[in-house]
């Protein structure tokens, strides 16, 4: 009896979880759907038939293509930088004692809790007063700034659960400090690093507010969309969103399969 009650509760929660997933993805579903809309009028607001035209004309809007490419390049570069320096700091915080650790923790916390708007505005003032021209580089700087803390946090969490004797064992077996890091530490914290990387990539691809301050004349995918939405988004945007989404799904599936194979 009680066991049956339990199972019912669990089943309801299972369904509920799926409802939330569907809810979270529903605008994505609409976005995907309208990427196939054979719209005739200027705005892409009502279903007018199926077409693959927008896939064929995906790159017809050249500045949209440029914006997407910018976004991908910026996300990739900032993710690499973020992961490198964030992992380093995560290691320092998780493995070492040093002066200023408390302050560093506070900075990490501050970077997470600074409103984006404030961050964007203050960065812009900095660049302007420092005579730094704003372009893809400044966007990358900003994106690293707001995502580095997330990498630090995930890597540190991973590091503190990592048995320190693994590293000592490597040293004991003749590995240099760098060799130890490369062959033992890094592979062990890789899941944390990957999680951090995924998060920073998503945050970068996602960002509008901060980017809008520091972009100069460089347009990213979100910026382009915000511009375009004022007059109706062309279906190519849906298609690009769909493709990014699809690649994400593929990575997820690949991950899951790989994980299953590992166990």
């Amino acid at each position: 009896m009680s066991t049956r009650g339990t199972r019912l509760g669990d089943r309801l929660l299972h369904i509920y979880t799926w409802i939330i997933i569907v809810w979270l993805s529903s605008p994505i579903a609409v976005m995907i759907l309208f990427g196939f809309n054979d719209k005739k009028s200027k705005s892409n607001t009502s279903w007018q038939g199926f077409t693959l035209r927008w896939y064929a004309e995906l790159f017809d809007i050249s500045d949209l293509t440029v914006a997407l490419r910018n976004s991908l390049v910026i996300a990739a570069v900032s993710t690499v930088i973020t992961v490198v320096i964030g992992t380093m700091l995560g290691l320092a915080l998780g493995r070492h004692r040093f002066r200023g650790k408390g302050l560093t923790n506070f900075l990490v916390f501050a970077a997470i809790s600074t409103p984006e708007l404030v961050m964007g505005a203050s960065l812009l003032s900095l660049f302007v007063s420092g005579n730094v021209p704003r372009d893809a580089n400044t966007i990358i700087v900003a994106h690293v700034l707001f995502s580095v803390s997330f990498v630090v946090v995930t890597v540190r969490a991973r590091i503190v659960t990592l048995d320190p004797s693994l590293e000592e064992a490597a040293r004991d077996l003749g590995a240099t400090a760098w060799g130890t890091f490369r062959q033992v530490t890094l592979p062990s914290i890789l899941p944390g690093v990957m999680a951090g990387a995924m998060l920073s990539f998503a945050l970068s691809i996602d960002d509008y507010v901060v980017t809008s301050f520091v972009n100069g004349s460089t347009v990213t995918f979100p910026l382009w969309i915000v511009g375009a939405v004022k007059t109706g988004i062309p279906p190519q945007v849906n298609v690009m969103g769909t493709l990014i989404f699809g690649i994400g799904v593929l990575i997820a599936i690949g991950n899951a399969v790989a994980a299953r194979r590992r166990t």
């Binding site: 372009d135 809008s212 004349s217």
Partner: protein, 373 residues
């Protein structure tokens, strides 16, 4: 950053302008920042420009609102850095005035603007905000009026009162731009914005506040008003003429009227921001757009008020050879007082309230306190 220096610029010396242009050369590249819906989707005019001159272009629809655009540009230009665009388009109004006053606009070399000299209408050569076209040449003019969705609004809208009519409670779109919305409130009150005083603004503010508090306004829009009307989220809204015509032509149920109490005429102007990388190429593009054929092609698409009078005849010619729907559309354009206004039409339209910096600091808060409650 202790103190940001003001830098009201002295008018440029003629020699200095000459020297500047003497040093510039063509780079084969131009970056054009413009408003949405100001260029055919296929960018045909620009492509032709590229073919004709060998100058490659980047076209960016990054300007949604004058104030916001200026806000982003100001710190950059103030710091003496290039904005990244060679041509930007701004409406006659306080921000353009600031651009000029602060020396953010490069004085133009009229020697390199033969088409402008030859083809621009007289009206567009004599503008109070930029006498002698020292810094700017018009991209196009347009009218702010009312757009409504005929699916939801059965009446023929003629009066500005429709925007204040409780019948359309929650279905009215107003603009967020202080000057635009200020003008419309003043029209409703029978005040001429060009001659208005602080007291008038306050009255206008009261009127708008009542409208908002009565729940008549759904939202204060920027360029996004057009999608809202087209979708029917709002049924009627302040609107810019050409935007609506473009939608109409695309078959959407929208209509544009200039209310009998008055409408706003404005001009969007091209200028070369200080420090632009490719000023010569920019100038070439500006001038290119003044070729009647080019201007006609552009206007046929955007359906605003072109600064090149010869366009009307060109379109009329084209209408003769065109067929069916296209013919009808072209004929409508040629006859439209909102694309080719007569002197009488112009007389009914008003400009924005001219504002000094001090006045601006009174004017803006009055209307922002409405739109940003």
């Amino acid at each position: 950053a202790c103190g940001v220096q003001g830098q009201k610029a002295a008018p440029p010396k003629a020699d200095a302008v000459k020297d500047y242009w003497a040093k510039q050369t063509k780079h084969g590249k131009v970056v054009f920042a413009n408003w949405p819906e100001y260029m055919p989707e296929d960018q045909a005019p620009l492509k032709k420009f590229q073919q004709a001159t060998g100058i490659s272009y980047e076209y960016k629809e990054v300007i949604q609102e004058n104030a916001e655009f200026f806000g982003k540009a100001d710190p950059v230009l103030r710091a003496g850095q290039p904005l990244g665009y060679d041509i930007v388009v701004m409406t006659n109004g306080v921000q353009l005035q600031h651009m000029i006053d602060l020396g953010y606009a490069t004085p133009l070399d009229h020697a390199q603007l033969p088409n402008f000299e030859a083809n621009a209408g007289q009206k567009y050569k004599e503008r109070a905000y930029d006498p002698g076209n020292k810094y700017t040449v018009p991209y196009t003019s347009g009218v702010t009026g009312i757009a409504y969705n005929t699916k939801y609004v059965d009446d023929d809208i003629t009066s500005i009162e429709a925007l204040f009519d409780p019948k359309y409670k929650g279905r009215v779109g107003m603009m967020g731009d202080a000057q635009e919305i200020g003008n419309f409130a003043m029209f409703a009150l029978g005040i001429d914005p060009e001659k208005s005083t602080e007291a008038d603004w306050k009255k206008a503010g009261e009127k708008l506040k009542a409208q908002r508090d009565d729940g008549i306004v759904r939202k204060y829009y920027d360029q996004s008003y057009i999608d809202a009307v087209a979708k029917g989220d709002v049924w009627l809204s302040m609107a810019w003429s050409g935007d609506v015509f473009q939608r109409q032509l695309a078959g959407e149920p929208v209509k544009f009227v200039v209310p009998e109490e008055g409408g706003t005429i404005w001009t969007d102007n091209m200028l070369i921001p200080k420090g632009a990388a490719n000023p010569v190429d920019a100038l070439m593009l500006m001038d290119y757009l003044y070729q009647p054929v080019v201007a006609a092609e552009l206007d046929e698409f955007i359906q605003y008020v072109t600064p090149v009078p010869a366009v009307q005849d060109l379109l009329r010619e084209k209408a003769k050879t065109a067929k069916g729907k296209d013919k009808k559309a072209l004929e409508d354009m040629v006859d439209s007082p909102l694309m080719f206004p007569s002197e009488a039409d112009y007389a009914k339209l008003r400009s924005y309230t001219p504002l000094t910096t001090q006045q601006e600091q009174v004017f803006n808060p009055i209307f922002q306190s409405i739109t940003q409650a």
